[in-house]
């Protein structure tokens, strides 16, 4: 059963939402989902681009009040 971990990276400039996601994915099992909250609009393109390059799976990008919820599944 997939476990969803949430990273609240709103207002995080360094290392930033994508780097937090990369670190978090190292700690979860294949098939687990990680949700990132980012207030940086760049994450909406940066994260899917990285996920595509590294061959994980995008689950979804959802706009929220002042931030985005981005969910990624560890695929390998």
């Amino acid at each position: 059963m997939a476990v969803k971990q949430r990273i609240d990276a709103r207002g995080a400039f360094c290392p930033g939402p994508l780097m937090e996601l990369i670190a978090a994915l190292k700690l979860v099992e294949v098939g687990d989902e990680v949700e990132v909250w980012s207030s940086d609009k760049g994450s909406v393109s940066d994260i899917p681009q990285w996920v595509n390059k590294v061959h994980h799976e995008m689950v979804g990008v959802t706009p929220q009040e002042g931030y985005w919820s981005i969910v990624v599944r560890k695929a390998k």
Binding site: D8, G11, C14, P15, G16, E20, I22, D46
Partner: protein, 379 residues
């Protein structure tokens, strides 16, 4: 009965907090109404940022270390006996020697550690400067280096987010000074689609790389190192040959954190403004040990420590909260052997690095000496 403050970890954050509390709680410590104990792993205190200069012969090993008892206020009960298990429910910490220390307030400052062993082949095939032994080996490797391919390979998470760029620029200057730069190719790898996670820093670094002829491979998430073939391969399928591999190894928190079930990867879930462990009202977490999504850096630890000193002192003296941490981080960035810049930011202010200058480099060199005043809580 004295209120017991227990600090687990004797690095920069724990040391600043201990010394700061000694000043703010002078009367309480003298009267015996407050007792302050620190559990450390070693009796020496190391200036970790100085490790960056060791491979280039710019700092001596002896300059990195001081006797921790001399750095600490004499009112701190300092015990060299690292924590083995932290029991939040019982308000007790058991050490490696088997002693148990009870507390009313706990500060977890155990820090992070490099884990080259988490990437196959990296421990055998790479050099690094993130610990003393690694810095020594890198210094020797650079002394023997007569030209060839150098790969600077960045992995996450890691402390000091600007150090990979600093070591790259310093390498370039060092090799130029040695007269082997024209026989050397430097390639810098980074896990995401630009040269640094901070976009303004990446935008500044990109033309600098072009100017100095430094190559780069972005979207390079290291899968493995082959020490025999001298290659490093990414999850994305790129393989680079190297003669010298300078790695920024991935980090984890300390074993005691995972063994005590306090956080995955050794990072303790921490509330970003109060710096209290999530679910606790008497357990503070500071520095690299938190899971807060900000830089793992000495300045972060320093600004967090100042906040915790104010809050702990205020809680003990006046039974009230003093102030919140605003996410402040300040980092010098060495842009070579002769120039530097800096970035600062907090939760609401984005970073905006200025142009490199000799003056900022001199400030950084001065801070290498002034650090000991920071650790003593005087700066």
């Amino acid at each position: 009965m004295a209120k017991k403050i227990l600090i687990v970890g004797g690095g920069l954050a724990g040391t600043i907090i201990a010394n700061g509390l000694c000043r703010q709680l002078r009367g309480e410590l003298s009267s015996g109404s407050v007792a302050l104990t620190m559990l450390g792993a070693t009796d020496t205190h190391m200036y970790q940022p100085g490790l960056l200069y060791v491979p280039f012969g710019r700092m001596r090993e002896s300059e990195l270390f001081r006797d921790q008892r001399k750095v600490l206020d004499r009112r701190v009960r300092f015990v060299v006996d690292p924590a083995k298990h932290i029991d939040i429910d019982k308000k007790a910490v058991t050490t490696q020697s088997g002693h148990t220390h009870n507390y009313d307030f706990l500060v977890i400052a155990t820090g992070s550690r490099i884990r080259p062993d988490n990437i196959p082949g990296m421990a055998e095939g790479a050099h690094w400067f993130y610990d003393l032994e690694g810095a020594r080996k890198m210094r020797d490797a650079l002394a023997d280096f007569k030209g060839g391919k150098i790969v600077v390979n960045v992995n996450v998470p890691h402390k000091c987010p600007v150090a990979p760029l600093e070591v790259t620029f310093m390498l370039r200057d060092y090799l130029a000074g040695k007269g082997v730069l024209d026989k050397t190719e430097i390639t810098y790898t980074y896990p995401i689609g630009r040269l640094h996670t901070l976009e303004p820093v990446a935008k500044w670094a990109s033309p600098e790389f072009d100017r100095f002829g430094i190559k780069s491979e972005i979207f390079f998430n290291t899968k493995s190192v082959d020490p025999k073939a001298k290659t490093v391969t990414s999850e994305e399928g790129t393989t680079l040959n190297y003669d010298l591999l300078v790695a920024i190894p991935p980090h984890t928190g300390q074993q005691v954190i995972t063994d005590s079930n306090l956080g995955a990867g050794g990072w303790v879930p921490t509330e970003r403004n109060t710096l209290l462990r999530e679910g606790s009202s008497n357990v503070f977490v500071v520095g690299d040990t938190t899971n807060i999504p900000i830089s793992k850096a000495g300045s972060t630890a320093h600004f967090e420590a100042d906040t915790i000193i104010d809050n702990l002192a205020s809680l003990l003296k006046e039974d009230r909260w003093a102030r919140n941490y605003d996410g402040k981080v300040f980092c010098f960035v060495e842009t070579g052997m002769h120039t530097g810049t800096y970035v600062w930011f907090n939760y609401t202010t984005p970073p905006n690095p200025g142009p490199p200058s000799q003056m900022v480099h001199w400030f950084k060199l001065a801070y290498n000496r002034l650090y000991w005043l920071s650790a003593r809580g005087l700066l």
